[in-house]
Amino acid sequence: MTVRVQREDFDVGAEIAELTRGNPRIGGVASFIGLVRDIADGTGVSAMTLEHYPGMTEKQLATIVAEAKRRWPLEGCLVIHRYGRLEPTEQIVLVVTTSSHRQAALESCAFLIDWLKTRAPFWKVEDTADGARWVAARQSDDDAAAKWAKK
């Protein structure tokens, strides 16, 4: 159950291999990778910068991971979130979950990214032709997170 907040890129294949290595109880591995797009809300984006709240970020991510572990029978769980300046096609975030059961891996992975998006203290500012623009929070992200509330 690892959480990392880092400026550097990550190697998805190596991270998944590391999380699963030598554990024959794992039947399913689900992962999600968030990438920087070159367009947002119809406007071209040449780069974005992710700011975060050191200390609180790790704390919130650990809380979310603990909640996933409480809800699903997980063998392993990894969250990596980058900060700093990122260009289109670069990797922002990685979530990987492993379990004996396919549905537990798939559901917990979706849960983690949905909750992370509304609870982890990161903020994006985008470079556009009109200058820097702070990304506004989306109602759809709140809705996605809310659907896990009742469980």
């Binding site: 609180m56 998006k117 203290p121 903020w123 929070a137």
Partner: protein, 83 residues
């Protein structure tokens, strides 16, 4: 107490963090915000619409009713947009 500002709140206030000693009797986050707004136009703009200001005390989410004491770390920031 230590105050932290992030994203556009940081830009409006004009600094990322500061250590302040609010007047005696400033017992909640709400009272702290009221006092901060008396300190200049940057603060007034930053805290103009409290619906889009999130609050954390000692790195846990809370709200304006939360009690605060001298040693606390209090952070103000917009709704988060990571992931």
């Amino acid at each position: 107490m230590k105050l932290l500002y992030f994203a556009w709140l940081r830009q409006k206030v004009g600094l990322p963090e500061e250590t302040v000693t609010p007047p005696a009797g400033t017992a909640t986050v709400g009272a702290l915000i009221d006092w901060l707004k008396t300190r200049g136009p940057g603060y007034q703009t930053a805290f103009a619409d409290l619906d889009i200001v999130r609050i954390a005390v000692n790195q846990e989410y809370t709200d304006r009713d939360a009690a605060i004491t001298a040693g606390d770390e209090i952070a103000f920031f917009p709704p988060v947009t990571g992931g």
